[in-house]
Symmetry: C3
Subunit: 200 residues, 3 copies
């Protein structure tokens, strides 16, 4: 299994897990847990593909991911309290940061390939990275955390997308650009979180 | 008028009616009543068609349904209190269950025709059946009822979609599969509701 | 710069500004301010284009508008309190009414060109005019103002769209129809607001 595949699965699992927790906190049933986990994990990429008019959607060609979340929702509903004790917040932040980096750069590169102008491409990267969480919070009847907690989350994604765009502009090989800027996003997120950096 | 057409109109009317009631409960004006009724009646099918990239949308080719809801919103705004007294909860549950069965199976069969893999097709069936209500609750600023009330609603739809998929797999004629599995969903919904069955 | 271009920019700025104010009232950070402003300004047109399956989206071909909102979000975050004092409510209502008229008629004419039946076309006009505000309120965790304040806002848009459709039907030149009905919407909105007209 390639590294990108492993990271992708990790990122989806983390997205789904954050959906589990939020759904459980709202006292949802198993249908709610699956729905919120699914929206959190795939919402950003789905919105990007709808805006770019690209089909088939990511989770349509990879139905194994949808099935994975389905099975996890079934088995984790009773176990979620135990899971939360076992899995530390630090671990979730790190895994989520890896997902943010990876998905943002995948989003921006797909938008470029689809012929988007560069500012729009950078926005598509950020949308891919953050809109799963926004949709999760909207359906859970909360003001989206990412829009109000003042932590550099979307900003890390945005800066990393521009790093990728600039590296592409000056002719650096795509693979190297992708990994470098995805890692830059992840590290920026982890470091600013750890230091408690806040925006105005 | 064919049976499927009659059922379709009934299901749309019930969706619109549940939108009327919710919009009125939130003290919305006539614009809100029409909008919420429309979203409830057509939201699930519209989301499915956007995800599958199919056009024209159902309510675009059948503008008579949109006009019907428009006229109903105009005349029912003052009469909604009387209507609620005349129409019993039992009647609404039954009509809504018929709609759930019909729309779910129409959704899953359209997804199959569009070439979706089977787990995704079953999800599209459930989305068609339940997302109108989810969007209604989101716009009305509530946590969606279907995600948290613990009643087997989405689950009935999901089980019926798989019944249809299996019947198709073993070569049972489409028409017979459609009606049998749609009725199975409706009956499962009505029976579990009547007996007060709850999920974890 | 043509008049329609100037009006368009004005309408987008007003949409973005109402997003700024709402995001600030909800204590969002700069990411939230940009996101809400963007959704308010472009949400209606984006939803219309997704429903009609038209690409590229308006803000993709005009990335300068997205950049403009981005820059404004950056500089206005600290200045928003001052801005609110300088810009009177009356000015906002007038500019917003101009945007409502313009966007509604642009929406209905695009829907007609895309071959929509006329009632659907009138709905697309209204969606273009009002859904930015609805999406803003949904993400900000409020029941959408336009659905419940009882002011003739969507109704002005709807009436103006039908005025346009009728003028097209009887063969009046498109340009003249467009400007007349857009102005009719704007004036109807300003007059009914000024007189405090309320619907049931």
């Amino acid at each position: 299994m390639s590294l990108i595949k492993a990271l992708e699965i990790l990122a989806i699992l983390v997205g789904a897990f954050s959906g589990f927790i939020e759904a459980r906190r709202k006292r949802m049933d198993v249908v709610g847990i699956f729905t919120i986990a699914f929206i959190t994990a795939f919402g950003g990429g789905t919105l990007r593909d709808i805006l770019l008019d690209q089909r088939p959607l990511f989770w349509v060609t990879h139905q194994e991911y949808a099935i994975l979340i389905f099975v996890l929702a079934l088995i984790s509903a009773p176990a979620i309290r135990t899971l939360r004790r076992v899995i530390s917040e630090r671990l979730i932040i790190v895994a989520d940061a890896l997902g943010l980096g990876l998905f943002s750069i995948v989003g921006v590169s797909q938008a470029l390939e689809a012929g988007m102008p560069i500012f729009i491409a950078s926005m598509m990267g950020v949308i891919t990275g953050i809109f799963g969480g926004i949709l999760r919070d909207v359906v859970c009847n909360e003001i989206p955390m990412v829009l109000r907690d003042g932590r550099p989350y979307a900003i890390c994604s945005f800066a990393g997308c521009w790093m990728y765009l600039l590296m592409q502009k000056v002719g650096i090989p795509p693979d190297f650009s992708l990994w470098t800027s995805a890692m830059a996003i992840s590290i920026a997120r982890i470091v600013t979180w750890h230091r408690g950096v806040r925006l105005e």
